[in-house]
Symmetry: C2
Subunit: 368 residues, 2 copies
């Protein structure tokens, strides 16, 4: 891994990950300071979850013109967020973070506050954590699916390296590396990029998976994720593609019109644990899957794709790292909106049978 660490003019950290070793001299010449505001965690006593209130983000950069892209390399005429004339992959702290800094959130903070007589509506904590931006390429008008496998591997290394670094911070419990792609899901910057969030608590979705892993272990003596992967591989009808180290499949209970999981064959909990071979194999399979996705409809697939990783606090409970990619597109001109049933009471209704979508994704590979 070829990493260069530097600091932006306002004190934020920046990390360059290069495909091949090189020396970078980084000097951010801008006169900028960090926006104030910060965020606050509020305890939702109805659902038992934290909600982040981040007022400063309301005025963040919104769909800038291509010439104003803050994620392109800097030129002599224009200083961007990346003070280099070129880069391969770069990660830096978000200028408008939803979560930033400490202090660490004690695991039973809300419960203890309420037991101590704190009012249900005023259980709050500073918005601790970390938000970073990951640029996948210096080219403004391309996409992750169009990069070469070497670059994908560098992206994997960047994700893994930052996951390890964030998990080492006392204020971070779970690291989510993800990409929002497409205007249909609200992407405000078109330059190919992803984000990394370090949450100060196990996220609600992950907490539920951990609970079900416990339930499954108790009921059957087996690992929820190992058993699911084995069942999907045995059934085969929802498998899209695989290689020695990974399987890509549509889960039998897919809740989105397009939903794809990439699961490693070896039980690991976080990205840093992946071997070189596993990282190479992931890069090749993910590129294949992304390209299949882009062939499903008349235009490239809008999607959310992210790494489900174990929280630091979940030691001892079964969990397996996997990537979850999903899309709200259900036809060339139709989107699946989260309306009353999904957003109001949490019941997802999927109009496309998972077996049908898996078949289409398998066929989308054969046209290459």
């Amino acid at each position: 891994m070829n990493r260069t660490q530097a600091t932006l003019a306002d004190g934020r950290e920046i990390f360059f990950y290069d495909d091949v070793a090189r020396t970078r001299q980084v000097h951010d010449t801008r006169d900028i300071s960090r926006p104030g505001g910060g965020s606050e965690l509020r305890w939702d006593a109805y659902l038992g979850e934290w909600v982040a209130v981040a007022a400063a983000r309301q005025n963040r950069t919104h769909k800038p013109a291509t010439n104003d892209c803050p994620l392109c390399p800097s030129t002599e005429e224009r200083a961007t967020e990346i003070p280099q004339p070129d880069y391969d992959v770069v990660v830096f702290e978000n200028r408008f973070p939803s979560l930033a800094g400490g202090p660490a959130l004690p695991p039973d903070f809300a419960k203890a506050a309420i037991a101590a007589g704190e009012d249900l509506t005023t259980v709050r904590h500073p918005g601790a954590g970390r938000c970073e931006v990951v640029c996948f390429t210096p080219e403004h008008t391309t996409s992750l699916a169009q990069l070469d496998v070497r670059r994908l591997r560098t992206v994997v290394d960047a994700w893994a390296d930052r996951t390890a670094a964030l998990l080492a911070m006392p204020e971070v419990d779970q690291v989510y590396c993800f990409e929002n792609r497409g205007e249909e899901i609200g992407v405000t910057l078109h330059h190919p990029h992803g984000q990394i969030y370090g949450y100060p608590f196990p996220t609600p979705r992950t907490s539920r998976m951990l609970e079900q892993a416990r339930v499954t272990r108790e009921a059957t003596g087996e690992d929820l994720f190992a058993r699911t992967l084995a069942a999907e591989r045995a059934a085969g009808q929802r498998v899209i593609a695989d290689n020695e180290h990974w399987t890509a499949f549509v889960p039998s209970w897919a809740r989105w019109p397009v939903e794809i999981h990439l699961m490693p064959h070896r039980s690991v909990r976080t990205l840093p644990e992946l071997t070189d071979d596993e990282r190479d194999a992931f890069a090749a399979l993910y590129l294949d899957v992304l390209q299949r996705g882009d062939r499903l409809f008349a235009t490239p697939l809008p999607y959310i794709s992210g790494w489900q990783q174990a929280p630091a606090s979940a030691e001892g409970t079964d969990f397996r790292l996997h990537l979850q990619l999903f899309s709200i597109r259900r036809a060339d001109t139709k989107l699946k909106y989260l309306a009353g049933s999904e957003s109001g009471v949490g019941v997802f209704i999927n109009d496309i049978p998972p077996e049908q979508m898996a078949q289409r994704l398998r066929e989308a590979g054969e046209t290459r």
Copy 2:
């Protein structure tokens, strides 16, 4: 309550609720049959939730021209879903239901199946339940917020009457009466209408509220909902409006840019329990709140609004009926998309402090 029950040509039930008593002769002259397909519940073993797969809905009516609206009254030239030349409020079974018929889903169906050796990926059940459509007015180009309070009261009576009827069906455990409003959230029919879903299980959001109600009762000896309402009324800063029987407030942990709860002052679990006075008071306050919402931005508010009601199976656990209205709009031209953090791991980030939104909604009432 003035109700006329009839049957559509394909056997679906239809119910007319009139502002004043009248006699209706209903004859649906169309030659139609019910689309086949049905739906299936699949157990998401990662999250411990049911997902509905409803393939037949993929081809449902999508943004028809105004002249083809299936929710307008029928004319001599055109038979719509409503075989009457006029109506006040009408409810009928959805032609493209996500859930329909039986058999009832046993509460521990998934757990029992897995304990009995069923594979995690094949725990399934027919998509039992009920889906109905509620038309609020015969006028195609208006909205709930523009109706008079008498009509709103008839809508409340229709919701309450259908809730009682659906809860009496063995295959229904929880009834969700809701409205999706606005193209921004994917509304495919513009005629002012809502929907009623009868789910065969307690929905995920409701299950979590029931769990937190149990936790709160254990920790403090108090009712989660009574305590929250008392705290919001005492603090006052997030209260939008109130009357003798109801309070409208932005919850302190609001996860949406616009989120409004209307809570009754008396602890009731479902709509049928509301008295006449409480129904009248709700209609007046809801109309006020809807009108405030429509004044927030340059164009009317797109929203999802629905009734959180207790499941039949939740007897013995604290719960209080309340209406939850929320919107993804965060500025005149900006929407809050559910992206990676919200949809991928379940952590909501709200860019607008609840106190600020409550203030704006209070001010939106003063301009009348």
